[in-house]
Symmetry: C2
Subunit: 305 residues, 2 copies
């Protein structure tokens, strides 16, 4: 499965028991990625059965409390569970200082290294690249420096052809080899030809995460070049609170739908809902009137490609 997104938190500044603060766990092309980490994210990971121990990259959009307060607890818990692999965190300037002072006074000594990659550029930046994916960050418009992220599958990656009967017998470790276009040889010497088990991947999958921002039509136009499949866009308010959205540097459900239309995505996920909305149906309705393929982020749901 190339893409599985688990919503850990779909709320905004004030959490509710049903909607924790922003956090998503992305299992994508051989990577386990945490995007934002609001308070209580580690509890949500346990609750929703995500493989948090395997996380290899964390992306933090900005330093408002509802987007990173779960991080120190999550980081400490990984250490208590015996992690030794380094952990890469892509984050705003300041996060290292915030964590360092906590770990200093709490005398927390981690059993692994944290490698901070602080956002020092003002424009877009390639954050990461390997044979499977590229990740870009780009500025959005909020009250503090804030960035969105694009997670792109590499064009070279082929897909496992599940319609081949014997594909279910493929060893797990063969997947990355076959998908990169090379034959796999198992322990017994048997050759599994990539051409038999994979199909070309014409449109590489692309996921974009855009939160805590005013509506940015020019950004949507720019992102339209990337052929984004799934877009998560914040929709803190209904459009009748458009002025409040503007003042607080947030978006409405209608604006998120317009952004999705302009960016030419296939699917839109709304999230970061104000705690004032007990019923999310009106937000969904408002967005679907403009962009029918809209869905609501609910804590615990898993989205696949």
């Amino acid at each position: 499965m190339p893409f599985e997104l688990t919503i850990l938190g779909s709320g905004s500044a004030t959490p509710t028991p049903d909607r924790f603060a922003s956090s998503q766990f992305l299992n994508f092309a051989n990577h386990n990625i945490l995007i934002d980490c609001g308070e209580g994210s580690q509890i949500q990971m346990i609750r929703f059965g995500v493989k948090s121990f395997k996380v290899d990259m964390i992306f933090i959009s900005h330093l408002h409390p509802d987007h990173f307060l779960g991080l120190p607890g999550f980081i400490s818990s990984l250490s208590l569970k015996g992690r030794t692999e380094p952990l890469d965190i892509y984050c705003p300037v300041g996060l290292k200082e915030i964590l360092d002072v906590q770990f200093h006074f709490g005398e927390v000594h981690l059993g692994y290294e944290i490698r901070y990659h602080s956002f020092t550029e003002s424009g877009e930046r390639k954050e990461y690249e390997d044979q499977y994916i590229s990740v870009f960050s780009f500025p959005v418009n909020h009250r503090v420096p804030c960035r969105g992220f694009v997670f792109q599958e590499k064009k070279s990656i082929r897909r496992i052809n599940k319609s081949i009967n014997s594909a279910s017998k493929l060893p797990n470790e063969s997947f990355p080899v076959l998908r990169s276009g090379r034959d796999f040889i198992d322990k017994t010497g048997k050759i599994w030809p990539f051409k038999d088990y994979t199909i070309p991947n014409d449109v590489p999958f692309c996921y974009a995460y855009v939160t805590d921002t005013t509506y940015l039509p020019l950004l949507a136009l720019k992102l339209s070049e990337l052929r984004i499949h799934t877009l998560y866009h914040e929709a803190t308010f209904l459009d009748d609170l458009k002025e409040k959205a503007k003042i607080t540097c947030h978006s409405t459900a209608k604006e998120a739908a317009e952004f999705a239309t302009q960016a030419g995505v296939k699917r839109l996920i709304l999230g970061h809902f104000s705690a004032r909305y007990k019923d999310l149906e009106p937000l969904l309705r408002e967005a679907r009137a403009i962009f029918p393929e809209t869905y609501i982020a609910v804590d615990g749901i898993k989205l696949e490609a």
Copy 2:
């Protein structure tokens, strides 16, 4: 009601969906007090319907992540909800620095003042006193500086006599006046004599909070002078893990029961359970064999005097 304790979190370093990290909300003699504030405490407060907005004092035992990580989110949320009254936080040295750096980078501007009362003494200290209560802190033995707390009702406070039929009609604002031994005059000029509606309070209520410590029999002996009614004592492990408890500076259920016996308390609440225990019955059994009036802290339960 002079005493109502709501358990917000009964877990230890690794939280579980059923057991959040340490936190308690104490409604005691005209005060709303938060004791420790683990990750997710603000969500628990909403879930369990405690009047978090009214909190006037916060006590933090130590700076391990599972005892204060919920604080920045809680403090921010109070500001978003419009709080203007100052908030007193009794805490280890370092908490101010931890919060200041977060609020600096997140550009969080609180609408109220935080007054920090950092623990600078090494011995016991009177933290607070007014006409209703006294609060003391005292050192316990953990891997980082850690303190326990005693919340004592003042001897002068009388109790409302609920067996008087018309007591249910008493105006709310009459309670502190009557309980301090003065007649209350309502808006219509009616006099409510304190002698008719209150009874003397021979044994003032006393609550002690002892967490994250090895077993300290000398402290128990010292606390026995205070006539403690309810004691919360950590019981991270069963006694078969006594050595692990010693190494990690924690206590076992058996040790907590021995402490309660030596301190001569009326009721013992066990908490801070290791995530390894799915079933807490064995911990309860172990303690009750020594101290029968033992109860288990469960997230969401309310204990009254």
